[in-house]
């Protein structure tokens, strides 16, 4: 019975590959965009302007505090009522990018705050401009704190991308739902879906762990 089901599933590999491809493409685009946006927001969040910082903080809270499904619904189904018509793929990218940016913003802000004030003062004293201080002194040091959780967050976001099936995109999870209609074995089908995610995510987890070890050992602390 199980063998028979497995054979039947194996026949669906083109569909599964398409789903995996959708998951990877969607994640890749929105993670790249989300990282850029997240770094920008993180820098603004820790910048001097109180108003900007608290507006970003409130937005991050709103996004972190509500189900991703609802966010994606608002973008796909409600924005058209304001005249913004998006196709499912674009809506998925926007929603996932926004989610990624909000989580990454907090990670980056924490990294920036972890850089000792002495470093900023030294940069300030040698007359570096705001951007130069950030670019040359603060960010490179913040990266040590930022990188491991950033890569870990990528893994979470790749898994969150499964929610896009609610707006009709056929990603890996959706393929699982479609296939289980024909081969009604939830255990087998979703085990295979899990394997698919594992293939994408595990290298990233390995990377995160390596970064963590490298960053810990790197020319970190100033010797006193």
């Amino acid at each position: 019975m199980i063998w028979q089901q497995f054979l039947s599933l194996a026949g669906s590999y083109p569909l599964a590959l398409r789903g995996l491809g959708m998951t990877v493409v969607l994640s890749l685009i929105s993670l790249v965009l989300g990282t850029l946006l997240g770094f920008g927001l993180g820098i603004l969040r820790t910048g001097g302007n109180r108003l900007i910082s608290s507006v970003i903080g409130a937005w991050v809270d709103l996004i972190r505090g509500t189900p991703f499904l609802v966010q994606i619904f608002l973008i796909f189904f409600i924005l058209p009522e304001f005249g913004i018509e998006l196709d499912a793929f674009t809506a998925g990218i926007i929603a996932l990018t926004n989610l990624a940016a909000c989580f990454i913003c907090e990670i980056v802000a924490a990294g920036i705050r972890s850089v000792p004030t002495g470093q900023v003062e030294a940069a300030l004293a040698s007359g570096l401009s705001r951007w130069q201080r950030m670019r040359q002194v603060v960010l490179p040091q913040a990266m040590r704190i930022v990188l491991p959780p950033l890569v870990g967050q990528y893994v979470l976001l790749i898994k969150d991308s499964s929610v896009v099936s609610a707006i009709g995109l056929t990603d890996l999870t959706r393929v699982g739902w479609l296939v289980v209609q024909r081969v009604p074995n939830g255990l087998l089908v979703f085990f295979l879906v899990g394997v698919g995610y594992f293939i994408v995510c595990y290298p990233l987890i390995m990377l995160a762990r390596r970064l963590e070890r490298r960053m810990g050992a790197a020319h970190g602390e100033v010797q006193l």
Binding site: G11, S12, A166, G168, V180, Q181, P184
Partner: protein, 262 residues
Amino acid sequence: MKIARLFIAGLALAGLATAASAGTLDEITKRGELRVAVQTQGPPFSLVGANGERTGSSVELAELMAKEMGVKIKFLDFDWDGLIPALLSGKADLLVADMTPTLARGMKVAFTTPYMYTGSTVFTKADSKFKTTEDCKAKGTKIAVLLGATGEKEAKTAFPDADIKSYKGGGPLLLDAVNNGQADCGVNDVSAVKGQSTAYPAGSFTIMPDLLSKEPLAFATRYDEPDLLVWMNLFLNQVTIDGRLQKNLDHWVNSDAWKKDH
């Protein structure tokens, strides 16, 4: 909540604008494409084949509709959560799924006249101690139903002492739950149960001969598309008269004929 209220205020205007637009049928003709939202709940109504091709009784009826309109068809495939929003937000022109037109639902969407009648039935694992519908009425019997489906309501009335468990994800998972012992009995649309149990070796399930209810199935569209609704009713009328509907149902619902191709 405040934001929602603001939304509504702004949207009252937007709503007026869409209502005033030209007829939906004209729009579809102009677009050359009929956008149909489907719910892939499993055989026999809507399923995805091994290679990702979409098929099933409802799917073929929708394709027939597009053919009669002389336009192409575009399927939008949502899970249950996204189905109704897709129709209400205008992403889809109409909804083709094995849906029961209840009066409460009819408050929000416009249903066609029913094109077939079915009903909820009870099924159990063949070798279980639950042999009849009566057996399932025992206190604490675990009964699997589909979340939000009419079967859920029927089960609550028919088995007041039972422990009702609602699942998402389509009928096949109900069969899986009963097969695995998470539930003692399942309640679902009889056509769906019959169609979906074919994925198991013959004789795996006992399907009770008596129906808990008689239920119509219908397609749905929006109330701001009256022309489309009229046309859909006309379509159902025509295919009933010329026998194409019966042929479809005989192939998919009333027999296992479809199994040969899938």
